[in-house]
């Protein structure tokens, strides 16, 4: 048998998967088979590379060539040129937008330069459906070390010393949580992995589970050893079929290798994992709600204390951590607490994975050291704002977070700084907005989400958020008064102070932070009945500029409601009564003759 000369890594992440990466993979396999190259070239489906903007991505090893936006029709050329003739297919390489140069090695791309990959270390490197590839990259070594060399106390000490804090949003010190769970005496304890990623616009946990499921299983077993639990449960969204599938495969393989189940590695330690499905409820990301959902009940939160560490699943002590938190654990054990604590800031150690999305050039999944600034993330890694528009704000922490603005661009990102700036770390969604986004409409968008997702148990959240939403609706329709702005602020504060769980306590954050940062924009809506971003339909009109209009009839033909009239070669007119403000005319006009008033 010949030696494998080339490995072709095809991205199997959700974004690339949606752009036919599966068919691309099959095509490569067929082409390789047809040419009899099976012994020299191996095709591997990996997890997410992170650079979703340029997907589907195919990476060639060992020379690290990074092909972007690969289409089915490109497969043959890649094989012929790259593998058979040894020449790179230049047109598929990443093009540096500033210099126009082609970059073939991902290490030299701005997108990757500032990233440090710990939680995502294996995503895009290994085949997540093959345990041996995980083991080859030091997989399950940490579990072995812990079981044979370290006591649970010593392991917890490492976790505490590393400074790792919960990556689900709360930022509670992980080691401390483990210690508390360990201290509670009980005949049965549970280890839970929270994979109910509900923040719209975030896909960190999903990518870890799809790209490196074993790291989570390994960490859960370590956690079980430390806290004294022999049963693990992964609570995962049913909307993530690919992640579920890969997790199932990983569990099966780990059992076959004796890394899950009875008497792991011959040490007498028992631990196994089960999957529980979420059914679409944002509030289930809250740990008490999650536990109720796992028990087959409505996912309503309960008052803490008692904390799950004391009384959780079925009333037993339960340690709940999020996917990304777990993904960090094996590395910390292998490389040591000091190594990890060197990365990051004083009180936030290590890295954080963000799903960078919205009006940004390089949408994708990034992992950066704590303490990096927003400016670096947006302008260096993210490649700046799409279509050279003006940066306006970035929302971190999803619907529970707040908006950061130009003044926060140079603030080092960590748990405490984000809270001081009126936002929060959250699970890692990072949505970039430009000058065309209306901050009042954004606040309304998030409130709508909260209103839909409120479980209804406590009235500040159930009723208060609804009232907030109605006030925002009133303002965006041009019926707001200056008093409404005071009411918004007061009610927001009441909801924050009196809601039962994290969802309610944080739900007014988008309103408060937009009020604080964009008060003038609210005032314009209220006093001048104007939306400067042109988003609030009731406050705008599409007008045809008679000077620019040449009467080409293109707008009239594209108007879905026939609101535009005018003879050929004559200036056209929009009937404001009929106009539904869809903006189709403005998009179509080639002469810049339509503007928003």
């Amino acid at each position: 048998m010949g030696k494998i000369k080339y490995h072709m890594l095809v991205c199997g992440g959700t974004g690339c998967h949606a752009s036919q990466s599966d068919q691309i993979l099959k095509k490569f396999e067929t082409l390789i088979h047809d040419r009899g190259l099976e012994n020299e070239v191996q095709v591997i489906k990996t997890g997410c590379f992170g650079f979703c903007e340029k997907g589907p991505i195919v990476k060639m090893m060992p020379d690290n060539t990074f092909y972007t936006k690969v289409k089915l029709d490109d497969c043959e050329e890649i094989l012929e040129e790259h593998i058979i003739k040894g020449r790179k297919v230049t047109r598929l390489l990443y093009e540096n937008p500033e210099t126009g140069e082609h970059v073939s090695d991902s290490k030299h791309m701005e997108f990757y330069k500032k990233q440090i990959r710990i939680a995502l270390r294996n995503c895009g490197f290994i085949n997540p459906e093959n345990i041996e590839e995980y083991i080859a990259r030091d997989g399950y070594q940490a579990l072995g070390k812990v079981l044979t060399e370290l006591s649970p106390e010593a392991t917890i000490e490492i976790m505490k010393k590393s400074g790792l804090r919960g990556r689900g949003g709360g930022g509670f010190p992980t080691g401390l949580k483990w210690e508390i769970t360990r201290a509670v005496k009980s005949d049965q304890k549970y280890v839970v992995c929270n994979a109910d990623e509900g923040d719209p616009g975030a896909f960190m946990d999903r990518s870890v589970l799809e790209g490196d499921p074993h790291s989570v299983l390994e960490a859960m077993a370590i956690n079980g050893y430390c806290t004294g639990a022999d049963k693990g449960l992964v609570y995962i969204r049913a909307e993530y079929p690919l992640a579920v599938e890969r997790l199932k495969i990983a569990m099966k393989q780990a059992r076959e290798y004796g890394l899950l189940g009875k008497n792991i590695l011959g040490t007498g330690f028992n631990f196994d994992v089960e999957i529980r499905y979420g059914a679409g409820a944002f509030v289930c990301g809250e740990e008490t709600a999650l536990i109720h959902s796992m028990e087959g009940l409505r996912g309503e939160p309960t008052v803490k204390p008692p904390f799950p560490s004391e009384s959780g699943y079925l009333g037993k002590p339960t340690n709940v951590n999020n996917v990304e938190t777990y993904a960090n654990v094996p590395v910390i054990i292998n490389k040591g607490a000091d190594w990890f604590a060197k990365i990051g800031t004083e009180r936030s150690k290590g890295t954080k994975v963000f799903a960078l999305a919205g009006k940004i050039n390089n949408v994708g999944l990034i992992e950066v050291p704590m303490g990096i600034t927003l400016r670096e993330v947006i302008y260096e890694i993210g490649g700046g704002i799409k279509n050279d528009k003006e940066f306006k704000a970035v929302q971190t922490g999803g619907p529970s977070g707040g908006m950061l603005t130009v003044k926060d661009l140079d603030t080092p990102i960590d748990y405490d700084n984000l809270i001081a700036a009126g936002s929060m770390m959250g699970s890692g969604g990072m949505i970039v907005m430009d000058e065309n986004d209306c901050m009042v409409a954004m606040a309304k968008f998030y409130l709508q989400f909260t209103v839909e997702e409120s479980c209804g148990k406590c009235s500040p959240c159930r009723i208060g958020n609804k009232r907030l939403y109605e006030m925002l609706e009133k303002i965006t329709q041009g019926n707001g008064t200056p008093e409404d702005l005071d009411k918004l602020r007061n009610l927001s504060q009441v909801i924050k102070d009196t809601s039962l769980c994290g969802l309610g306590q944080s739900s007014p954050n988008p309103v408060l932070s937009s009020l604080n940062n964009f008060y003038d924009e609210y005032m314009e809506h209220v006093n001048l009945k104007k939306c400067r971003a042109g988003k609030c339909k009731s406050l705008m009109q599409y007008i045809i500029n008679a000077e620019n209009c040449i009467g080409c009839t293109l707008c009239a033909r594209n108007c879905p409601v026939n609101a535009i009239t005018g003879e050929r070669k004559q200036v056209h007119l929009i009937d404001q009564e009929k106009c539904i403000k869809c903006g189709a005319c403005m998009e179509k006009c080639k002469f810049n003759a339509i503007y928003i008033k």
Partner: protein, 159 residues
């Protein structure tokens, strides 16, 4: 709503599902997932059967079904259309795409076309934010959809 008659075969299948979870009430959500897999949705009649098998009240089952957005009590169309309204898609114009689907299909969110061909729903983030705005028809994902492209997508399934 008029009563519907469940086929014997599917009923047996449903009971077998309940049994596979030992008719335990703690497994209700898992049972509902499987039941929706069998019937495509969860009409009152299905909930009644589950309530009997698991020995919980119908009100309890109904409470769970209506709490979680994944469960639905109305049948979906042959080609369920879902528009992602996650934040990334929203800021990239998903709302306009949704409006266009409503206009072209002449239905509102949560409805099914009279011929049963299409149904329209919204979802929150499929994790393909690089392709925003994203539309799903069944399992197929359409990325970077513009209002202009909506007609073409619908036409694909109308032929």
């Amino acid at each position: 709503m008029a009563k519907i008659k469940l086929s014997e075969k599917k009923l047996e299948e449903l009971k077998a599902v309940c049994k596979s979870f030992n008719n335990e009430k703690g497994e209700l959500i898992n049972v509902l997932h499987k039941a929706q897999g069998i019937f495509g949705y969860l009409p009152a009649e299905v909930q009644e059967v589950i309530s009997k098998e698991l020995n919980v009240s119908v009100a309890h089952v109904y409470g769970i079904v209506t709490f979680y957005s994944f469960f639905t009590m109305t049948p979906k169309g042959e080609h369920p259309v879902s528009i992602c309204l996650g934040t990334a898609c929203y800021v990239r114009g998903a709302e306009k795409v949704l409006e266009e689907f409503k206009r072209v299909l002449k239905i509102q969110v949560g409805e099914t076309t009279p011929d049963g061909k299409f149904s329209l729903s919204c979802l929150r983030c499929v994790g393909a934010c690089g392709l925003a705005p994203v539309v799903l028809v069944g399992e197929k994902v359409y990325g970077r959809v513009s209002p202009d492209g909506v007609k073409d997508i619908v036409a694909e399934y109308n032929s």
